[in-house]
């Protein structure tokens, strides 16, 4: 399950920033580390939720610090 979600995040990152390699999207890194600005981050999260067909409330994102915690949150709503 985690792999599916990480794969969806990686697809979204590479849609927004095509120059990012697939192996760069790791759980211990943040979207900012990968060069995403504020608009990019919002787009990555929106795209991933659309991809997975899930809807996560805005307030639920407060504990997200890196791609691992983002994946954990998305998994909780999948």
């Amino acid at each position: 399950m985690t792999d599916n979600i990480l794969a969806a995040i990686a697809r979204s990152v590479r849609t927004v920033l095509p120059e990012i390699g697939p192996d760069q999207v790791r759980q211990d890194r943040s979207l900012s580390d990968l060069g995403c600005n504020s608009v990019d981050r919002a787009e990555v999260v929106s795209l991933t939720m659309e991809d997975l067909g899930i809807d996560v409330p805005v307030n639920a994102f407060s504990g997200v610090t890196d791609i691992g915690t983002l994946a954990d949150l998305l998994r909780a709503y999948a």
Binding site: N37, S38, V39, A42, E43, S46, V58, N59
Partner: protein, 411 residues
């Protein structure tokens, strides 16, 4: 009720005042030591800057005065509701509208109110006013809604600082909607509690950038879905000739448009569609910054000044206010709308704003960021700012406070 019988109300006149000074975005990024490469993401070239002789009252009055001056005495007296929409309130009880009512010389037979819901509130007031006027309770009445704010942002806001504007939009609502005829009953609302941005004290803005951008995008989808549920056949791609959105910075509007196009299965057309339907509405916001609840009306003025509108066309509008509340609505504009906006000379006034160096900007900010702090007595030396003021003696300035009573003069 047939379509022909729907009440026809909307915006009769619109003017935007965006201050007397500006700083370019590269100069501000340089002064703060921020990455100049981020300007492309912001899609902004300059922003308006407030002066110590300006406050939410002067901004409101300076935006509305040309609108009122164009009315006959009878039309002016038909304004039976004055609403100021602001997140820059000056008092917990007394409204900004109470001062504005006086300096605009409006009738005493007029309701005064102040509303607040971050960058959404003016649109809520416009819709409530249009609905009230359509009720027929007071035939021939008009309402004046003024979105007015000042900026408190400093270096703590990082990349939001160059995107924050200063000024006001004055919106006259009535039954002769020359600027925008609202589609009666065509709206969609979407609201829920979140703390994405707020002004918990008179000197500090909270800005959770990620949460705010995400909520803005989420609410566009949510409010448009509600619009679709009320309007048969509504289609984001085909129903609107142009789009006008609340513009914290143009880069976010571009992302929001791309998201909606994707949701409609029109990703491939997104870039060309953005250029055609949205770019005209982004020209003034890129020169001014975020005007809070006046932002969507600055974008509307931009569209009407920039696009060549040769025939009546339906436009879609999106207002979003942190906290959060949002609305997608629509209306008809035409050649007369563009002529009415052109007569206000907004573009020429934006070009006439005095350009500041970073050092000048920072010294002004030392004073203006305390603008909303309640002080019983304050004296502002107006003579220090004469070089900023336009000629003609028709510009309202803040001169200070005495026992909390704010004082203003025409200069």
């Amino acid at each position: 009720m047939t379509a022909a019988a729907l009440p026809r109300f909307g915006i009769e006149a619109l003017n935007v005042y965006a201050g007397l000074a500006r700083i370019t975005v590269p100069e501000l990024l340089r002064g703060r030591g921020l990455d100049p490469g981020r300007q492309a993401n912001l899609m902004m070239t300059s922003r308006s800057v407030g002066l110590p002789v300006e406050d939410p009252v002067t901004n409101a009055v300076n935006a509305a005065r040309p609108v009122i001056a164009a009315l006959t005495p009878g039309q002016r007296d038909s304004i039976e509701l004055l609403v100021t929409s602001t997140e820059s309130g000056l008092d917990l009880s007394k409204s900004v509208a109470s001062y504005v009512h006086d300096y605009l010389g409006l009738s005493r037979n007029c309701r005064l109110l102040e509303v607040k819901q971050a960058c959404y509130a003016a649109t809520g007031a416009v819709q409530l006013a249009a609905g009230y006027l359509a009720s027929g309770a007071s035939p021939g009445a008009r309402a004046l809604i003024i979105a007015t704010d000042v900026a408190l942002t400093d270096e703590r806001a990082e990349y939001a600082e160059p995107a924050t504007g200063h000024g006001a939009a004055a919106i006259l609502v009535g039954g002769q909607p020359t600027v925008l005829a609202l589609d009666f009953g065509a709206f969609g609302a979407y609201s829920y509690e979140t703390l994405d941005s707020a002004r918990p004290t008179p000197e500090f803005d909270i800005a959770d950038v990620d949460r705010s951008l995400f909520a803005y995008l989420d609410c566009l989808s949510g409010s448009f879905a509600d619009y679709q549920s009320r309007v048969d056949g509504a289609d984001f791609v085909r129903s609107f000739g142009y789009l006008v959105m609340h513009t914290p910075f143009a880069g976010l509007v571009k992302a929001a448009h791309r998201k909606l196009m994707r949701e409609q299965g029109a990703t491939a057309a997104a870039d060309a569609d953005f250029q055609r339907r949205l770019l005209p509405a982004l020209a003034y916001p890129a020169l001014v910054g975020n005007l809070c609840s006046g932002s969507v009306y600055l974008a509307l003025a931009s569209l009407l000044d920039q696009a060549e509108i040769e025939a009546p066309v339906r436009i879609g509008l999106y207002a979003y206010g942190s906290g959060c509340s949002s609305e997608f609505f629509s209306g008809i504009v035409g050649p007369g709308s563009a002529a009415a906006i052109r007569a206000m000379g907004i573009g020429a006034r934006l070009a006439a704003r005095r350009e500041l160096s970073f050092a000048e900007y920072r010294s002004l900010l030392d004073v203006t960021r305390h603008c909303l702090v309640p002080e019983p007595d304050r004296v502002i030396d107006v003579t220090g700012y004469h070089e900023f003021l336009p000629d003609g003696g028709q510009h309202l300035v803040y001169t200070g406070s005495k026992q909390y009573h704010r004082r203003y003069e025409w200069r």
